[in-house]
Assembly symmetry: C2
Homo-oligomer: 341 residues x 2
């Protein structure tokens, strides 16, 4: 790969100047007293030779590689991850950086290996990302340099980027209140483990909090709360069936994520109930299926691209110790309407 590349020495020779001069000109150094003519000759030579600096050689001296490590637990390969990487990639490109990616697969040995592999390559910083928003333990090896946690927090109080789940809870509840729902709002997807263990999830607790605060500020409470052992469609399906089995059918259901909502749609369809005329549904995440469902599912979007972008910005531009909360905008789709009765 990359044979026959012109070197700085080639450029200097062609320009009839020293390597020093060529280096300074090409790096746009201020305060060198090189003549305008020297500048022109160097630029011309570089152009003619198609000169591109060798990053390895440069970084050997400068200890900067313009490379960021993006290490994730298993985020890199899930449907939710795309946006994180895309946002990070975009922001990195704007700053002339590239991304080295690695996955730990939740395995300590892999993690150790991955991090060493990145550090060996002299990355300028590390973005440590989690698939589920949660609290985690950061491997000590990366604490020597700049780190930003993405979709995670840690006991060390490192700079981190998180979705604003609590506000999303408020947004979602408010959307229902605005349509006239009040005392017949049910919640689907309570889960003790996710709510109590920050190491498992931070979203569950925050979303619940936001929802409850908003309803209680409006002088009401949840009509019913269905528990789910996980947040997959099958659990949403079962939970929705159980909600429908109780007396007092809700006018609206808040699902803790879109996959649950998908399951809920299935149960509603089987029960012959129409969304949103019989029952409104609103949710969190903005998974691609949210647009595929009929009617489209209103949902508070996880701002993955924004988050990935912010992580790079914080890493390269500015240190912030307070957590950065990225808003989760509500995607208004046809699944919410005024209650029937």
């Amino acid at each position: 790969m990359a044979r026959n590349r012109a070197t700085l020495a080639d450029v200097a020779r062609r320009a009839g100047l020293s390597k020093t001069a060529a280096s300074m000109v090409l790096n746009g150094r201020e305060g060198t007293r090189l003549s305008t003519e020297a500048h022109q000759r160097v630029f011309a030579a570089a152009e003619e030779l198609g000169y591109r600096p060798n990053v390895a050689a440069r970084s050997l001296r400068t200890r900067k590689t313009a490379t960021i490590a993006f290490v994730s637990d298993i985020v890199a390969t899930t449907r939710f991850a795309g946006g994180l990487i895309r946002g990070a990639l975009d922001a990195a490109r704007e700053r002339d950086h590239v991304l080295l990616i690695a996955e730990t697969q939740g395995d300590a040995a892999f993690e150790q290996y991955a991090i060493e592999a990145m550090l060996d390559r002299q990355v300028d910083g590390v973005i440590y990302a989690a698939m589920a928003t949660r609290r985690l333990a950061v491997p000590p090896a990366i604490l020597n340099g700049p780190v930003v946690l993405l979709n995670a927090t840690s006991p060390e109080n490192l700079p981190c980027v998180l979705p604003d789940d609590e506000r999303a809870g408020r947004t979602v509840a408010t959307a229902l209140l605005e349509k006239g729902h009040r005392d017949r709002i049910a919640l689907l997807g309570r889960n003790r483990l996710k709510e109590r263990e920050p190491g498992v999830s931070l979203a569950a607790q925050a979303r619940l909090q936001g929802i409850r605060d908003t309803l209680s500020a409006a002088g009401t409470t949840l009509l019913a709360e269905a528990f789910c052992s996980d947040w997959l469609p099958e659990h949403g399906y079962a939970a929705m069936r159980s909600l429908l089995g109780r007396s007092g059918r809700p006018s609206a259901v808040i699902c803790m994520n879109d996959r649950l909502a998908f399951g809920a749609y299935q149960a509603l369809g089987e029960a012959g109930l129409a969304v949103p005329t019989d029952i409104s549904v609103v949710s969190f995440d903005d998974d691609p299926i949210a647009t595929w469902l009929r009617p489209g599912l209103a949902t508070a979007a996880l701002p993955h691209e924004q988050m990935g972008r912010r992580a790079v910005e914080i890493l390269l531009d500015g240190r912030t110790t307070e957590p950065t909360l990225v808003p989760m905008p509500l995607r208004r789709r046809r699944s919410i309407a005024a209650p029937a009765s």
Copy 2:
């Protein structure tokens, strides 16, 4: 990042030997006549200092970085992409390599930039991936070194890795024939553009071919073929409705991908038809929704991880010019059954 790292010189000093000796021992060079004792001293020193070689320095000399560029059009951020990256990452790790990733976003300027950024970092090879299986033009800059196309072919006959869509077509059709379907099999998702333009898709043509060959070998043909302007759920929904509107309802439908199948499920649900008792459905891709649908959707899986893995293997281990076709295994789920009548 990576301050205070011990260098080879530190190791050599501590072992009381020269850098040359230390380098040779640590690289396990054969034929050096260094004593067993020298070996032990070097290993001990390296261990004690936590020595890790500086890849930039090494690659400056050896022109190998143990780094692979993974450049995609927009594959890195889609739901389908995860597996490609995961497989590549896995295979790379097994060979002590890491992945630099970049996205061209289908933009020639971005592509140029991304490729130069990778080449500047002296990558050992490039994997050039496409989101949709298709034929594409490879940017000349990467032709100087090893390249493998992933999910794509090119006029230059470069080594490439593709899913075996034609065989998948046969697999899918055979699955229906085996259940007893024969003269009432419909196809949903014909699309002239995808079938005719290799630059748009290679899958459509290949899948169609496999299906037709199999049915014709069984002495039958497709009962009906519904065209779709794209392969999204809404198109599947509309196409399924139009199929049901015709006289002679099919006993089974083959959908060109899972998103179409999802739309088809929606239309069937609305029409009060049950899968698979009234109508069997089978499809391609094995998108996550295939498991979420009720009943689960039988589908020929795009072997993303395998493909990513193979791409790295071919890049690093062996040159093959013939396209590598990776089988698409049928995920048997409850959406296919014997026809009702």
